[in-house]
């Protein structure tokens, strides 16, 4: 981490910057934000997943453990229906279908540790 003092429009401000892998962290006046700098052409993993570009791809929003797979391949799910339950930091998180459609693939199983952004299931609209 590097601390940086800047003056903008005559006002002194204190911030910090740090880089880890493809992510650069910025902090200014109590606000923290990140910017992803992926190799050109490829979207940043974390950013893609949180923004949820493709609603048919169910991705792990965090690293953690799969504790329940509710849906089965070939079944029809409606938007908002629970597909998978994960655990991280001792809390359960329910992953729900973003769209109504058919479950094409389930790519995880109960007990499995998954990484951030891993595709856990695929749907077909």
């Amino acid at each position: 981490m590097k601390k940086i003092e800047i003056e903008i429009n005559g006002q002194r401000m204190f911030g910090a910057v740090a880089k880890a892998g493809e992510t650069t962290w910025f902090s200014l006046a109590g606000e923290v934000w990140t910017i992803e700098s992926p190799p050109s052409g490829r979207a940043a993993r974390g950013a893609t997943n949180v923004a949820g570009v493709d609603p048919t791809q169910v991705r792990a929003p965090m690293p953690g453990k799969i504790i329940k797979v509710v849906s089965t391949v070939g079944s029809t799910v409606i938007a908002g229906e629970t597909l998978i339950v994960m655990e991280a930091m001792k809390m359960e998180y329910t992953l729900k279908a973003a769209v109504t459609g058919e479950v094409l693939e389930i790519l995880c199983e109960v007990g499995q540790q998954v990484t951030l952004g891993a595709t856990l299931a695929k749907l077909k609209v």
Partner: protein, 498 residues
């Protein structure tokens, strides 16, 4: 009873650090019982002796009675401090510690069973004629029975893991349709976090305040109450902001609740630090549960009373302590604690893990920081996401709120996201400032955390200059940042608060 010369700490994170501080001040050697995943933590670096008790998963380390006891023996400890969470409220653990010839820093196993197990405690408090919330605490734990009982109580109903705490294994059931799913989820969380799937049900009070009383019993049988903490600001039953004292209690109500808490403790022959939790709605208080351990939020009580609860626990375990007489306890000023969680408030509070690249806490009068990690340490997905606590004290509640806001504005964590921006927003909310918030506060006003916002022109300018300064004007990063700046409003994905 012999003097305690070394204490084994069956815990991790900031509470392990808190206990190490107390031991050092008392001239006591510390033995940290840690998992393989916790070698890069502050407590690990601070402890006098370190004993690895197993791998990262909690049931193979921090939740293993055998490994914790063996670790304490291997480290030649005289006593075991369980901290909070993990085995701290497990009577079998307390018993195993005693059976191994060690001192347990906490109540006797029988006391834990009488008031610590939530189902048993409800029966105890019913005998003590204290009001409790309508509910079901039967032995029949079949899911069909639980659903029927929930319907009988009337929705909304809350389902809780009997051995639980810290918001884990607790779910609100709003309708019959979601009853099965929520009960099953609470059972699983209870099993995973505490090793027990037993749950109970109770009526969910929807405009209540969470008020808890700190009590302390000494080895001579005296019990005092150290007033209350208000912990109303919770999300998913996980506390976020705690304060002492509550802004709403009248002296009469305070005394009635405090005396109820003391009665409960006395009926269980309680020794050491404990907390009796109540819900307060329309000037009626209902017993919620008793926690037979130190609480996460104990610092706010320490700040307004000028006491050290952890040292008192250790001295009491060595029979070298007399509890503060009730009439000498007077609260001064106001203290607020904010729990800092590694999570992204701009993404619905999703946990954030990774290496902490930078961490700074701004010292100042009446400010206190408790953390178990430092820059360079890893926040792992194995444990609770609380990475720090920020505590402030000032003469009045309003000043304490302002101090908290100023302190958080200067606090810095880089490498993992934290809820600091969310806590700052909460501190500015009129309902919080007035002190009229209920346990619905977070759900009503911050249901999904914070909305991601665009970077301000000043922040973009800073980002560009910081990129130049960090990576050199010729780096592609800096160029890309400059080029991207005019389009930041649209290309929000690459700039998002991921």
């Amino acid at each position: 009873m012999r003097r305690i010369q070394s204490v084994a700490i069956a815990n991790r994170g900031e509470v392990a650090v808190r206990i190490i501080h107390a031991c050092r001040e008392l001239g006591i050697r510390t033995v940290l019982l840690h998992s393989e995943a916790d070698q890069g933590t502050r407590a690990y670096r601070m402890a006098d002796t370190r004993i690895c008790i197993g791998p990262a998963p909690t049931n193979e380390s921090y939740l293993s009675i055998e490994r914790c006891v063996n670790g304490a023996l291997a480290g030649k400890a005289d006593a075991v401090h369980p901290g909070f969470g993990f085995l701290s409220e497990n009577a079998n653990f307390a018993e195993a510690v005693l059976d191994a010839g060690l001192i347990f820093v906490g109540p006797k196993p029988a006391s834990i069973r009488a008031v610590g197990d939530k189902i048993a405690a409800k029966k105890t408090i019913a005998q003590a004629k204290a009001p409790s919330v309508p509910g079901y605490m039967g032995d029949d734990q079949r899911i069909e029975t639980l659903v029927e009982e929930a319907a009988k109580i009337g929705f909304p109903v809350i389902v809780k893991a009997a051995a639980g705490g810290g918001g884990r294994g607790m779910k609100v059931i709003r309708s019959r349709e979601e009853a099965v799913e929520q009960i099953a989820s609470a059972q699983r969380e209870g099993l995973a976090a505490f090793g027990s799937a037993i749950v109970f049900l109770e009526k969910y009070l929807d405009h209540a305040k969470h008020i808890e009383f700190q009590i302390f019993g000494d080895s001579g049988g005296e019990v005092s109450y150290l007033f209350e903490r208000e912990c109303t600001v919770q999300r998913r039953h996980q506390k976020i902001i705690e304060e002492a004292l509550s802004p709403v209690l009248t002296p009469e109500l305070r005394r009635a609740m405090g005396e109820t808490a003391v009665r409960l403790a006395q009926s269980a022959d309680y020794q050491g630090a404990g907390t009796v939790e109540f819900l307060l709605q329309d000037d009626q208080f209902y017993f919620l549960e008793m926690n037979t351990r130190l609480q996460v939020e104990h610092p706010v009580t320490e700040m307004v009373l000028g006491v050290d609860l952890v040292k008192a626990q250790i001295l009491n375990a060595a029979h070298e302590f007399r509890v503060w007489p009730q009439e000498t306890l007077v609260a001064h000023g106001h203290a607020i604690e904010a729990r800092i969680y590694a999570e992204n408030p701009y993404a619905g509070g999703i946990p954030s893990t990774g290496k902490v690249l930078g961490m700074e806490w701004p010292e100042g009068p009446g400010r206190r920081f408790e953390t178990g990690i430092e820059a360079g340490d890893e926040v792992t997905p194995y444990y609770d996401s609380m990475i720090a606590k920020v505590i402030v004290w000032d003469e009045t509640r309003l000043r304490a709120i302002k101090k908290m806001k100023a302190t958080l504005a200067e606090s810095l964590v880089l490498g993992v996201h934290t809820n600091i921006p969310l806590v700052r927003e909460m501190m500015s909310h009129p309902e919080f400032i007035q002190g009229t918030m209920t346990t619905q506060f977070v759900g009503s006003h911050f249901p999904d955390g914070l909305r991601a916002r665009e970077r301000s022109p000043v922040e973009i300018e800073f980002q560009n200059r910081a990129s130049n300064s960090e990576f050199g004007a010729s780096s592609g990063q800096a160029v890309e940042s400059r080029r991207a700046a005019p389009n930041v409003w649209i290309s929000s994905r690459a700039w998002s608060n991921v």
